[in-house]
């Protein structure tokens, strides 16, 4: 798997890469752990942030009311959102007073989950959660489809060029144009990590 490192990234460049997170990044986690454990251990979020800020948790597109009871399986998608407008937005909030309006959609845990083996999870971050957690995740490095990185970098023009950024592919320096060529031929996953000029 290719590993890309972009140094001297501006905040603007970082912001432009955030859409990677709304479409989802892949993470290796332990199967059978709860969604709450995943948020604490893998995303390093504190309980207060989880309870106050992350108002909607979706597991395979179903709203989760109890993140401690919902377990992670291989191949699942987890999406995180802050509280949303609209009646439907309100129904999707955890333990919403109007949750009964989406009762057929609500996540229900099934018992047969293999524990302690490795699972791959797609994590999607939306709205305020994306803008708050996203930059730190990009700093640590995220795993995504190479084609999606290429698609985004391609549109950045002057924000991503050799005069501004130092770019590394698998620890070797590479010109941005060359990187785009490599990515266009890569049908697999790759890791992208961003180092910004200023502290976040």
């Amino acid at each position: 798997m290719n590993k890309i490192l972009i140094k001297n990234a501006t905040r603007e460049l970082l912001t432009n890469l955030l859409p990677l997170l709304q479409q989802g990044i892949l993470m290796k986690v332990t199967a059978g752990s709860s969604v709450r454990d995943f948020l604490i251990s893998n995303l390093c979020l504190d309980e207060e942030y989880i309870d106050r800020r992350i108002q909607s948790i979706l597991l395979n597109g179903r709203p989760v009311d109890d993140p401690s009871g919902a377990k992670i399986k291989d191949g699942v998608t987890i999406a995180l959102s802050s509280s949303m407008p609209g009646l439907v937005g309100a129904t999707l909030r955890r333990c919403s007073p109007v949750a009964s309006l989406r009762s057929t959609l609500t996540y229900k845990e099934s018992s047969n989950i293999k524990s302690n083996c490795q699972a791959t999870v797609r994590l999607k971050l939306f709205n305020l959660i994306m803008s708050e957690i996203g930059p730190f995740m990009l700093k640590q490095g995220v795993m995504v489809e190479a084609k999606r990185i290429q698609e985004i970098l391609n549109k950045l023009n002057s924000l991503f060029d050799k005069d501004r950024n130092e770019v590394f592919l698998n620890n070797e320096t590479i010109e941005p144009v060359e990187l785009l060529k490599v990515l266009s031929q890569d049908d697999g996953l790759c890791i992208i990590q961003i180092e910004t000029i200023t502290e976040l």
Binding site: R53, G61, P85, A90, A99, L101, R102, F126
Partner: protein, 578 residues
């Protein structure tokens, strides 16, 4: 706001203006007032475009005061789209200006004898109604430019575009925003066609020299307003999510839960959703020098709107909101934000409801007129509507009319009005409101989510599935009440979570009117409005059979969760049991 302005368009010798005290309508505003006048004065069996129908415009109870968020205006009539009673509301400047001019409502009655088109000009010196045939068939933007040149830039306008003049069932009534652009629309139900049938093209309002409306208890009012604003600003939805991303922030999450109607309600997820999400749209606006956080009227502190620029950095339209982006986007398989923004502009300019038009184009796509995903084709279809070609006249009459014209079975409408951007198979509760609202399928009919009011009629366990009927009932009641205040419905999120913000709203109403307003009285107001509206519809021939979703929602499972709409008909009939 102690008088009603009535203009009889049928009078011999030209339109006749008269002013009346509020009389039996005293204390009402917004939807409460439009629905009271329509239900009492309009014969339910009349033709919506005939002289017996009335076109009513009413600012809310708190409009024209210092109260934040109080700039919504209601437009009411018998709807040519649904055949029932209609209230459509809009933001923009006219509510505040009309209220300061002292009018609780404008009522257009009768029908002009000739084919002259009129403008109405209201300022501190009085009311004039002037025939002006140079305005005929002008699109909204050109019309407003002309009014600006004539009456200056301190005005606010209520107008129709060519769609309203052609009396199309998808025609909207436009209200100008703070920049004097016709971007805020009372969109639903073909209200623009009724204004067109009265021969009125534009109402020009100028409140120069008029004072702010004064509350009975100014100190209490100011204090309540302060608490109210603080509540809105500290809440994550009204203080952060809506200002940052606008209502289109919903695209990602609704798509993720599989409730995002795609390809004319065939699927619940759209592959291109992230390309047209609120997050993407806000970023694009910033990059192009637009504005992602902007109010639609002075006094809005949430500011869910914005300004959208084209690729060259020039103004294209206001920030298209969630319903519009969905209707012209995912529902038609289109993931090009610029094309969607162009369609938003065209709808505003011709005076069309964006939801109805998007739904209609998706129906036309299903009929094979153009392919799903064909953005250029979709733009062309709206242009046909604006020009009034034969095809345009079919499309301009909405999804149901178009579906019938092309022999389709899958037409997503209730009472003739297109469903908005949430598939009721994913979220059954919203289907209850779509089916039973007297307005036809309407996402705002059950919007007012407030913990206090939800408890009216007993506590409902939020995680039990059987509470949907009670919830829909209480939400519809609370919404009807909020729609009467002139308050933007988006305040609902802050009053859901923060009892002190809800109380501040009650205090503001009490301090303004001098009469104590409790949560129970507030709900009573909502109930009365719904009762009047249901009664009108009953007299217009509506039965329980009209309170149903189209059959395909019960028979076609919606991917990815493959669920059908499962609420029983007999349960739907219980919504209005009180």
């Amino acid at each position: 706001m102690e008088k009603i302005l009535r203009i009889n368009m049928s009078a011999d010798g030209g339109p006749e203006i008269r002013e009346e005290p509020l009389g039996e309508y005293a204390g009402l505003g917004g939807r409460g007032l439009t629905s009271a006048i329509v239900s009492k004065e309009v014969p339910p069996l009349c033709h919506p475009l005939g002289p017996e129908n009335k076109f009513v415009i009413a600012p809310g109870i708190l409009s024209g005061t210092l109260a934040a968020m109080s700039g919504r205006i209601s437009v009411g009539c018998k709807s040519p789209l649904t055949g029932g009673i209609k209230e459509a509301n809009a933001g923009g400047q006219p509510a505040q200006v009309l209220a300061r001019l002292g009018y609780a409502a404008i009522v257009l009655e009768g029908k002009p004898k000739g084919d002259d088109i009129y403008k109405i000009v209201i300022n501190k010196d009085g009311v004039q109604i002037i025939p002006d045939n140079s305005l005929k068939m002008l699109p909204n933007y050109d019309l407003i430019e002309k009014m600006k040149a004539e009456y200056g830039d301190k005005i606010a306008c209520i107008s129709i575009g060519p769609a309203g003049e052609m009396k199309m069932c998808a025609a909207s009534v436009a209200c100008t925003d703070m920049e004097l652009r016709p971007t805020r629309h009372a969109g639903r139900g073909g209200v623009g066609a009724v204004m067109g049938s009265k021969g009125v093209k534009v109402i020009v309002l100028d409140d120069t020299g008029m004072p702010m409306r004064e509350p009975k208890d100014p100190e209490k009012f100011k204090e309540a307003n302060r608490t109210f604003v603080k509540g809105l600003q500290q809440h994550a939805v009204t203080g952060q999510a809506l200002p940052a991303y606008g209502t289109n922030v919903l695209t990602n999450i609704i798509n993720e839960v599989g409730g995002y109607p795609t390809y004319n309600f065939k699927e619940g997820q759209f592959k291109g959703a992230s390309k047209i999400s609120g997050e993407t749209e806000a970023e694009l606006e910033k990059q192009r020098g637009g504005v992602p956080t902007h109010g639609c009227h002075r006094g809005c502190v949430i500011r869910c709107s914005g300004i959208y620029h084209d690729k060259d950095g020039n103004y294209l339209t206001k920030q298209p909101e969630y319903e519009t982006v969905w209707a012209h986007g995912g529902n038609c398989g289109i993931d090009d934000m610029d094309a969607i923004a162009k369609m938003d502009f065209l709808d505003d300019n011709y005076g069309l409801d964006t939801i109805e038009m998007g739904a209609t184009i998706a129906v036309a796509m299903e009929a094979g007129l153009i392919e799903f995903g064909d953005a250029e084709g979709a733009i062309r279809l709206i242009e046909e509507v604006g020009k009034g070609t034969y095809l345009g006249r079919i499309l301009g009459n909405g999804a149901e009319f178009t579906g019938r014209a092309f022999g389709l079975e899958r037409i997503p409408v209730v009472k003739g009005q297109a469903l908005p951007a949430y598939d009721p198979r994913a979220v059954h509760g919203i289907g209850v409101t779509y089916a039973t609202s007297p307005m036809g399928a309407d996402h705002t009919a059950g919007y007012a989510v407030a913990q206090n009011v939800l408890k009216v009629g007993g506590d409902v366990d939020p995680l039990k599935p059987d509470g949907q009927i009670e919830l829909s009932r209480n939400l519809q009641i609370a919404t009807a009440a909020i729609d009467s205040t002139g308050m933007c419905l988006f305040i609902a999120f802050a009053i859901l979570d923060q009892p002190e913000t809800f109380q501040a709203l009650m205090d503001m109403l009490s301090a303004f009117t001098g009469k104590e307003m409790t949560a129970d009285e507030f709900m009573e107001l909502g109930k009365n409005i719904l009762t009047m509206e249901r009664d009108f519809n009953k007299r217009a021939g509506f039965t329980s059979k009209h309170d149903r979703l189209p059959m395909f929602f019960k028979t076609e499972p919606l991917p990815p969760h493959n669920i059908t709409f499962q609420v029983k008909d007999e349960d739907l009939d219980k919504v209005f049991n009180w």
